[in-house]
Amino acid sequence: MSVLAPERAPVQETPGSPEVIGRARKKDFAGLVLAVPFLVLLVSTVLVPVLYALYLSLFTERLQGLGFSGPEHVFVWLGNYVSVLADNAFHAGLGNVALFALVHIPSMLIGSLVLALLLDSAVVRLRQMWSLAVFVPYAVPVVIGGLIWAYLYSPTIGPIKNLLGVDPLSDAAVLPSIANIATWQWVGYNMIIFYTALQAVPKEIVEAARADGAGGFRTAWSIKIPMIRPTVFVAVVFTVIGSLQLFTEPMVLRGFTGTVTSTWTPSMYVYEAAFVAGDNGRAAAASVLLAVICALLSAVVMRFSTRRSR
């Protein structure tokens, strides 16, 4: 995902101004013309594929005997969903992304928040330089970031094993290693988002707090962070969705270590089902389930965020 989190959470609808609304039908049609290109894209590349995925998820291919006489399409109701939900590999994948999120989200958010607050404090010199340095990894394509770290992780040629004394590609360490790649990539991005939001915090409020004798930590904790909470929550939503879709980093590491299985994340599970096992029904069912989980989680975070920021 490559989206930026704006200051205001997308909650209420802004109606067009009264003058505009009062216009003739012909003018409204002009607005539609402006919206149509996107509408067409949305329907053809999101709506139709989603409906098609739902359709596919209800069918499977049945063979018989040796199977060489070819398949037959069968409607199986929710059979594909049942088999995905009963599949240990799918559970393991969900477990992996959950753990990944537990490692990645706090470390990335805390890191970027701390850096943003430091940049926002008056003592820092060469602000521009620091923020650019930390931001640069965001400009590195994920595949390439993954490859770089994969080489760095390789036990005999990379320095990390000697540095930490742990093989970063071993069973136990591979998950934090993958989380590290993602954190490396996103910490600067979120830092910039938070920093920008921090700059919008009215100076008077900060000054007032300080005049009341609040120290730096206190100002940061009880004034600044609450003021940018909506931004932080939007960042959390996007990071959660991104974590659930984790695909590229483990896919790249798979070429370097046997500890990453072919179904290591739900997205990889979908890819394996569709493009290795050739089981489109199961792949579609798994992807629909993934979408549902994404939607539920974002709804939970959103609800939490709107309640908290009131």
């Binding site: 049945r62 040796l66 080489y151 390789s154 005999t156 069973d171 046997g258 290795v276």
Partner: protein, 441 residues
Amino acid sequence: MELSPALQTRGLSRRGFLRASAALGAAGLVGGCTATAAPPGATTVTIWSWLTGMDKYVAAFNATQRNVFVELRVIAAGLSGGYAQQTNAIRAHNAPDVLHVEYQGLPQILLTGGLRDLTADMADLESQYSPAAWRGVRPDGRTWGVPMDLAPMVFYYRKDLFDQHGIPLPRTWDEFRTAAAAVKQVDPQARICSFPLNDGSFFAGMSWQAGDPWWTAQGDTWAVDIAGEGTLRTGTFWQSMISENLVAGVVHGTQDWIAGMHDGKLWGLLGASWSVGTLGRSIPKDTGRWAMATMPTWNGTPANGVQGGTAFGISAESKAPEAAMTFLRWLSTNPDVPKIGSTFTTPFPAHLPNRAVARQAYKGGYFLGDPVYDVLDEAAKRVPDWTWGPNALRLFSTISDSFGPVRGGGTTLPEALKKIQQHAVADMRAKGLSVREGKTA
């Protein structure tokens, strides 16, 4: 790969130049096929393949033929997308005339019902192919593909180090264990070879040798026997090698593996015939240090596994099956093909007369001891019966996923194998296939 001289001259010809500029100007982005056009009146045959050097073979074919013109599209290798693309093209009824299949992937492609039965077209060639390759394109007694090459497994070893420390070349697996211990004793950092747990096709090749095929087509039923006696014996042996820390665990071809080979920490390699080229390229400075031998055996009875090999099938919906057959017969049996292949790889054709051509064209110089093609020939002769099942490709990822925890002690190879057997049987039954467990005759 470098351009062959033939292709370079072709590229520089005036016609080629004009065509190239036209393509750049018009549709350089949209099409993805070879740039040359068919001569008037020729039948066009489309082929999808990921075989290294296929562009050169196709160019050579087109240069000599007037009636058939081959259009190549290079696709991603097998499990990196090639099989998926071909399967989906068959489903969408827009498959190319010629499809790339490996012996291990053929039955899975057959499940789509998208391949043409070539039994009659190929009948006259039977005697000219290596029996292992011939069986590979006939999983159920009908011929479904044209064999291209075969990759028997061999044992590559550092003859200089083995000789220097008086370790005899192991001819049985028991001797192999002794040799492995000896290597470790000479240099505690060194191992006799690596046993890559994440490579299902490697383990399949090792098990192949043990003589218990994982699948057998019995009438209308698949007999599935992945935890058979031979496979379990193989698993138990390697489990003990891993437990006693006598083998390394690095993945073949990775930087760690190369570094190990470079530094003399890996004294051997159980690998397929294509490793002849890999070795020369990864560690050119080791020229004159390596030798190769057939795989150690279980009890002295000659037997040898295979890891890979290419064949080509013709789409059941092809509108030009005869022309496609003309090309495939040329590709598989024409002596020009191994000659071209020898300029950039070490081909080991399935077609026996062509294998002799490849042997002639081989330059050699890297290996000590027995000539490369003698060892490979002998290895190919020793290959026992084997049939790939319709879930072989998926099984490779299941194997690699289930073997993952072995190194950390989370499971053992025999235990994992029993689970894999259950998984495979369940998977096949879920598809509606008729399955019988174990090796019942």
